[in-house]
């Protein structure tokens, strides 16, 4: 089982911390926006089925859940 690498696909959206909707193979961004809704709407306009949401960031190493 290969590790899934999202570093390249998320990079263009990291500076603005945009939400992205990934295609089902996680290789492309089908939609992006400041909210999950905007990302999903763009993906829907492109006809992408079952996209997966994640928010892009330039550095995930410092994340500590506050909960």
């Amino acid at each position: 089982m290969n590790t899934l690498d999202l570093t390249k696909v998320l990079k263009p959206y990291a500076q603005e911390n945009l939400w992205v909707a990934l295609t089902s193979d996680y290789k492309k961004v089908a939609g992006s926006g400041k909210t999950p809704k905007e990302a999903l709407e763009e993906a829907g306009r492109k006809g992408t089925k079952n996209p997966t949401l994640i928010q892009a960031a330039s550095d995930y190493s410092g994340l500590v859940p506050t909960i």
Binding site: T3, L4, L6, T7, I54, Q55, Y60, V64, T66, I67
Partner: protein
Amino acid sequence: MQFPYILLPGRTDKVKTPIVPIGVSFGGRKYQIMCLLDSGADRSYLSEDFASVLGIEEVENTEALTMTGITGDTITTYFHKVSFTIGGHSNEEWFGFGKLGMPFGILGRTFFAHYIICFDERRQRVEFKESRS
């Protein structure tokens, strides 16, 4: 079912993270979102922005819990019962919706109760088995 760890951008190197895609549905709407498997969290959480995507209009019209995390910050979250699907298996879970400030959802130990979960650091993957009482 098994999921590989996911490589995410980091300050000096790539970060290998146990996040998994889950389908979340409410009122006929279903969407997929990446969620962190967090054994340190008592409960499960999603961004309040995701509540509007699911069509949960009155997010605050339910049980509210103010949580204090390890950083000392507090967050008020509002819990709604939603259906989820992971690897073809479906169940229900109470998710707290709030201003998480996290780039993905959080699956805490209430979610863990549905499965036996093994973190295999050497192979960089996480394995789920159904938990039967």
